[in-house]
Symmetry: C2
Subunit: 297 residues, 2 copies
């Protein structure tokens, strides 16, 4: 598709995309080499009793002890009888056993370390290229939106829409991973480096975000009758192979993602008439999808 | 409340709040003088047939022709028979007549000008104090989160959670105001300066955000049976005085708001252990509440 000459010239002058193209166009035309498969051992499948399914990608590179705990909790049947018991609008959906004194399965660390950040060393970061209000640096590592400080040597996962974190009480209790929440509103980045983040919802976030909001303080449901029962929490690797959902994410080190990021920051098409020239970390939305098999254009 | 000396010193060194205080504390202790009443003529009350109420504050200072249209549409009964027909997760809820060819009431401008920005001149902006990825400047004007360019002389309302905008087709059609949407996800700031924004939801956004998501492209409901009927759209000023909801917002030029903004950017209390030192425009959330009568501490 060609632009009228004057428009194309203007677009170049202001650093905008030189042609009308959308992020979806880039996904649609992406080569298979731009995608990476999520290991089945890193997919946590939460089936709700109402038939909804929520699939979570775990992030062992950022919170290894908490993620190992979550895998042990799933395998040990810890969440039998669990519910979604908190829905706070523009904030979080939270689930688990809610103050149960149920014992922890074997292998679960009762007091994990505060995995709020990890060493920056060893991470290859694709920079966001726009300023971040919450940290000296922001960008992407292996599909994850991260913030970091080169000076202080840390990196952390960030509280974007769909990010999953570990509920905890006051410091220094970091939570076992038995109570989890997912962000269902504008990114509450003030929680970054204050809580252990363990992953993100890759499918079914709408099954959480469309639930009724709780009317008690902090969005807790008032009556237990409002709790949403969870039928099962399983790792995909523990499901029969034929039943396993499989997902892939765009490799954030690929040239395809570089194109995607550039267009995200400079929307310009028949609808978008003024490219912003920047984008917020949590508004980039790294593409994740059900694994595509067969040819791509 | 006192901090241990070392912590207090550390907090001062990194520019954090010198005492443990939350944004809610500041609201709770605010003087009456820190609040401004929303005129009844600027409150649009949408009652859903299911009993839910959504109250919208209109922004005539930013989109005067579109806001005048909306008032004329409400008074002219244009939205009789309207529905919510689109729910796209992490994006918008949209309502109106959805491609009806119903005639416009008297006084409605069929082709309003593109009120995507307004002159910066005449606006007293309280700066955000953190970088904004989408514009050279960001801050607050009379309770509204805005972006601006001092060099180019424009200011605009921003697409934050709850912001209400005017659905439109491709440019240069700007929409009459008959089809409206509210943001129900992470701020889609790429839409700033591309669409006319006319206000924000001040109560009842959860009545939109908790609706089932549409399964068609862009979140449109597949069957008309899924449409959520709107019982009425009225200006509060047209309601009987005893029935009118009344709201006030924190004066963003007040010292109370300056405190609130500082704490929003530097959360530090029993839970928040690492102040971020910055905050995203749409994560500040200017306090708006039902009008408080009587004494405040």
């Amino acid at each position: 598709m060609r632009l009228p000459l004057l428009l194309a010239a203007a677009a170049l002058l202001i650093g905008a995309a030189p042609a009308k193209i959308t992020p979806n166009d880039i996904v649609a035309k992406s080569p298979a080499s731009a995608w990476k498969t999520i290991p089945a051992d890193d997919l946590l499948v939460m089936d709700l009793a109402n038939g909804g399914r929520v699939v979570i990608q775990l992030a062992p590179a950022f919170a290894p002890v908490h993620v190992a705990n979550i895998k042990a909790l799933a395998r040990g049947g810890y969440w039998n009888g669990a519910t979604i018991y908190r829905l706070q609008d523009n904030y979080v959906a939270q689930w688990g056993l809610n103050d149960s004194d149920k014992g922890l399965p074997a292998g679960v660390v009762a007091k994990p370390p505060a995995e709020y950040t990890r060493p920056l060393k060893g991470l290859a970061i694709k920079p966001l290229g726009s300023p971040d209000p919450y940290a000296p640096g922001a960008g992407f590592v292996d599909g994850w939106p991260v913030a970091y400080s080169a000076k202080e040597g840390w990196a952390d996962l960030t509280h974007c829409y769909g990010t999953v974190g570990v509920g905890r009480d006051l410091s220094p209790d970091t939570g076992t991973g038995g109570e989890l929440y997912a962000v269902i509103g504008h990114a509450p980045r003030q929680l970054d480096r204050v809580i252990a983040l363990v992953g993100r919802v890759v499918e079914g976030i709408d099954k959480l975000s469309s639930l009724p909001r709780g009317t008690e303080a902090l969005g807790f449901y008032k009556d237990k009758a409002q709790y949403v029962p969870i039928a099962s929490m399983r790792l995909a690797s523990d499901m029969p192979a034929a039943d396993r959902p499989t997902f892939e994410y765009m490799d954030t080190a690929s040239t395809t993602f570089a194109d995607y990021l550039r267009v995200r920051a400079n929307r310009y098409d028949d609808f978008y008439i003024r490219p912003a020239g920047g984008v917020d970390l949590c508004n980039v939305q790294v593409p994740v999808r059900r694994t595509v098999t067969g040819e791509r254009g």
